[in-house]
C-alpha cells in the first residue's frame, strides 16, 4: 500500500495572471487538506499534484480542479496538495482560500 498520487496539467491557453508568490493554506487534519501554490514558468499553465489516502474519487478531484484552477485567475504555478479524506466542499474551500491569499493586496488569512 502507498498513498495515491494524482497529477493534472492545465495548459496556458487561457488568459491568467502569473502567481506572484508562494502561498500555503490549510492543515492536514482529519477531513482536511493543505494547498501549496508555487510560482513556476509553465507558459501560463498549471501543474497539479495531489497526494491522498483516498482512491476512487479521481473524477471528482478533476471537476473541482477544473472549476477553481483551470477556470481560475492564476497560472504559471505548481499546485501541491496533501489530502486526508477531505470532502469536495472542503477541497473547494481550501483552494479558493489559497487563491484569495495569492491575489495581490490580500492579507494573509488562515
Amino acid at each position: 500500500m502507498a498513498l495515491h498520487q494524482i497529477s493534472h496539467h492545465f495548459s496556458g491557453t487561457r488568459e491568467r495572471a502569473s502567481l506572484p508568490q508562494t502561498v500555503h493554506c490549510g492543515v492536514v487534519g482529519s477531513g482536511d487538506l493543505e494547498v501549496l501554490l508555487e510560482p513556476k514558468a509553465l507558459a501560463g499553465g498549471i501543474e497539479v499534484s495531489i497526494c491522498t489516502p483516498v482512491t476512487g474519487f479521481d473524477h471528482i478531484w478533476e471537476i473541482v480542479l477544473k472549476r477553481f484552477l483551470e477556470n481560475g485567475p492564476l497560472g504559471n504555478m505548481q499546485v501541491s496538495i496533501n489530502d486526508n479524506n477531505a470532502t469536495p466542499a472542503v477541497v473547494a474551500l481550501r483552494i479558493q482560500q489559497a487563491l484569495q491569499q495569492a491575489m495581490p493586496g490580500e492579507t494573509h488569512h488562515e
Partner: protein, 555 residues
Amino acid sequence: MLKEHNWHQLKDDTAQRLNQLAPYFRDGKIIDAKDTVAVLEAVIRSFDRVNIEGNNQKQADFLSECLCQLDPQKIYGLHMVQSSVPLSSHLDLFEKGIAEKLDFAYAGPQDGRLAKLIQDGKIKLGAIHTYLELFSRYFVDLTPRVSLITAFEADKDGNLYTGFNTEDTPVITEATHFRQGIVIAQVNKIVDKVPRVDIPGDWVNAVIEAPRPFYVEPLFTRDPGLITDTHVLMAMMALKGIYAEYGVERINHGIGFFTAAIELLLPTYGEELGLKGKVCTHMVLNPHPTLIPAIESGWIQSVHCFGGELGMEKYVAERPDVFYIGQDGTLRSNRAFAQAAGHYALDMFIGGTLQIDKYGNSSTATASRVSGFGGAPNMGCDAKGRRHATQSWLKCGEEFNATQQQLIGDMPRGKRLVVQMQETFREKRQPAFVDKLDAWELAEKANLALPPVMVYADDVTHVLTEEGIAYLHRCEGLEQRMAAIRAVAGYTGIGLAADSAQTAQLREEGIVKTPEDLGIDRRRANRQMLAAKSIRDLVDWSGGLYNPPARFRNW
C-alpha cells in the same frame, strides 16, 4: 340495554391488582426499592400495555431494570408503548420474552439493536410515531394499563415533583390514571413536602425511592469549540437569506451544530444585520446552552421547553422573564404542550438532517438503524389546522401560491417555513444528497409499512447547503424543485447533474441564492464570528450560572 353487562370490568381488574399491591405499602404510598420486582409482578399481567417513562432525556431506568427481572414464564407478551427506548434494558425486555410488541417514537443509541430485533422477529413493531402522535394514541387506542414513571421527589401521598425535567410525565399519567390504569413512580428522593406538585398524588398508586438518581442525558449541549467555519457560513446564510428575508419571530431549532452556530451568531452577525427584536423573539426549544449569549443580549423574549438540560438549572431559574418557571423557582417543561406549540404556534422549523433525496424528502434513517422520529416532523410540517396569521407565515404562503392555487384557487393562505440545513457531504465523504433514501432499504429490511421520512418534500420550503439556499416553495412543479435541489447539491452525484444554464436561470429568479447572491463575504465566515467559542465562554456569558456537565469542561 343489557342489564347483565358489567360496565366496570377495568375498574374491578384494577381493584384486584391494587389489592395485591397493598401488602407492600410501608408508609402511605411508599414502597421499598427491594420490593420493586415483587410489586411489578403483582400489578402487571401478561399481554398488558405497559409504559416505561423513557423520554429522550430522563429515564425511569430503575423500574425498567426491575421489569427485566420478571419471570418470563409468568409474565410475557407485554405491549410496550413509550416515547423513547434509549436504554439497553428497554430492549432486554424483548430479548427475554417478557415483552413482544412495541409502539414508540425515538430509539436514540439503541437504533442499531432495535433494527436487528425487529428483523429477527423478536419485536413486533406497531408503528414508529412522532411524540405528539404517540401521546394522542395514549388517549385513543394505546392507553397504558400500567405506567412506570419517574420524578425527582415524592411525598407519601404520591404527589410528585418533576422539577426541571417534567417532559412526558403529565401526559402518560393522565392517560393511564383516568382509564383506570396503574401508575408507579420511581423518585430520587422521598420528602415530607414536595416543592411543587407537578402530578397530583391521587393519580399515582405507588412511589419508590430508587437506589440511585434517574439517568438524564445532556442531549442538547453543543460545544461551540466544535463548530466549523462551514457551520458559520451556513448560519450566516440562514440569518440573511431566511430569518431577515421573512422576519421570522417564532422558531424551533434542531439540536445540531448548524443551529448552535445560528444561536451564537445572533449577538454578532444578527446584530450587524439589525435583526434584534425583529426575528427569533419566541422559541419553543430545550434550554440550549448555546442560546445563553442571545438571551443575555436581549434577543429572546420567551422560551418554552420540551424538557430540561443538565447544567442549565440555575441559569434558567434566574431568568424567569424568559422561561416557564414554577412558584418553586425551577423550570416547568412539558413535552406534550411544547410539541403542540411547536406544531401550531411556530413560524419556522430549522434543523439538520442526514439524507435528502432528489425530490427533497429527508430522513435520518440509515439502512441498519431504526432511529425513529422524535418530535421533528410535528414541527417540520405545515400545520393544516393553523388559522392565525403572522408576517413570515403569510409571506411564505404568498410565495407558495403557484402551487397552492391549483388546490384552493385564489384563497390566500400562509405557510410554515421548514428549513433543512445540510452540508453536501457528511463525514467519510458520504453524500447528503442521494437518488434514493436509505429509508427505503431500511423499510424493506425491518418490515416497516413505509420508508421512515422525517420531513416530506412538500413540507420543505428551504434547503440550505454551503453552496446556497434553494427556495423550493417558490418553484412551479416538481421538475423545477428538483433543479433547485441540484443547484445546491455541490459535488454529489445529484449536484453534478445540475445544468449550469438552468441554475443561472434559477438564480436569476431568486429561487436559488449563493452566498455571493446574498452578499455574504465567505472570508468573514469563520469562528471569530461566534459570540462564544467554547463552553467556558458560555459559562462567562451566564455570569457563572451555567454549570456544564463534567464531560464538556476543558478547564
